[in-house]
Subunit: 276 residues, 2 copies
Amino acid sequence: MTDQQSFDDCVAILNQGGSPRVWSLIVSFFGDLALNDGDTVSGVVLSRLGVMAGIAPEALRVALHRLKRDGWIGSERNGRRSSYFLTKRGREESAAASPRIYGGPVPEPGSWTVLISEPGSEPKDISTKTINPDGCIFVGDNITIIPGEGSGHDEALLCLSGPEIPAPSWLRGQLIGPDLIGAAGRLHAAFSQLASLHPVNQHLSATETATLRTLIVHSWRRVRLRQPDLPDRFFSNDWKGPECRRLFEALLDDLPRPALEALEAEANGEVQGRAG
Amino acid sequence: MTDQQSFDDCVAILNQGGSPRVWSLIVSFFGDLALNDGDTVSGVVLSRLGVMAGIAPEALRVALHRLKRDGWIGSERNGRRSSYFLTKRGREESAAASPRIYGGPVPEPGSWTVLISEPGSEPKDISTKTINPDGCIFVGDNITIIPGEGSGHDEALLCLSGPEIPAPSWLRGQLIGPDLIGAAGRLHAAFSQLASLHPVNQHLSATETATLRTLIVHSWRRVRLRQPDLPDRFFSNDWKGPECRRLFEALLDDLPRPALEALEAEANGEVQGRAG
């Protein structure tokens, strides 16, 4: 098998028979490789990366346009070359998501609070009063469990804070829906298959490495950001999130983050090669 | 007003237009005046007390018979005189109820536990697993709140223990039903009226004092033992339990517990008087 064939196989495995959402792929790329203030990436690098990831050039242009319009990325023009970079807002939102994507398992909070509203009353949006809305557990119409100490809650809520809470099986069956269970199962299969190809042993270019990293982050991100921010013991036994996380970390460890300069150099080499 | 008239007024106030449940009145009498191992009360004393409290002699006999059959009291015969006493079981059950009847307001427990079963599942009788079933709060079909730390509960329960819990108004409106609210209101009125007659200033015999004490304990017992064992802040503002308790304590303080010997002496005097 040639290196090119092997790289294409890796991309196909990560794309799981479809093509990635371009907007999300670009966000994943910047979050992984160009997160710092001052980091810029040329349009040529983005184009090469898009082609390698299986994205049509026009789809990339549309996505870049949309991300600029939404204030996520900015661009600057230098002669015939465009460069792109995360705006302040883009950097902040990427940095905020980073711990969830790259961090370990959600730790146990030191305390939990149960909030109970009157049964049969109009359901209240008690989630808006929580410390961490993503770590909430909704039980029935009138119970919300949040990590942390409760304080400053609505007077109409019966609330109790304490250090520990178990995860009975009926609850574990509810917190992650079958769609996400299925998505994590497919991702686990893809990551396992990818790991068995040992991309670390192949002679990958910096851009190929960046492409695989971006697709890996993108794939994991789609599962991880849909998972409630709760310790893994709250999820059912068929949830493959923890296995995905371990493979995600191992795969990234084997594909060290290339420097932006290396990507630009490869793109320039190709341009010069073509021009030559 | 004669002392006799005044005493009869006190009895009428305490009977609130009806006649007391005889079984419960005898239990109240023994619990208040003959609780100790070795305490015995002659049938003659019980008869005089029953008459003073407005109980028909045959109703007293039936109730004594029933209490014997149920193992609450025993009896012994000495010539033509019968004596009655609490059995071991009767003493134990009376002693167990005493703190609730004679004690102060229910104190705050150091901790609370919320137990949540699966919403929509068959309601579980989680109360059987609690430390103190009488201090439970049931919220909807699937939430039970119990005083104390939770431990050893059903694995199917989501439980959380913590130090403090508020009492929102919707909950305070639920924990005591309108019947008991009404009963406490009427008892409060009766106790207030009784206190205004100042029975302490009347020349009451030991048997009259015992009769009033027994009726006072009996009246309060019927309200108190139906009240959940929760701190008063959990009940609605129209709940007169705390006021009843204060008057109950003040009324008993003014009617010191007579010795059983004094009751027997008065009964003997009457019998000898009749015989003479």
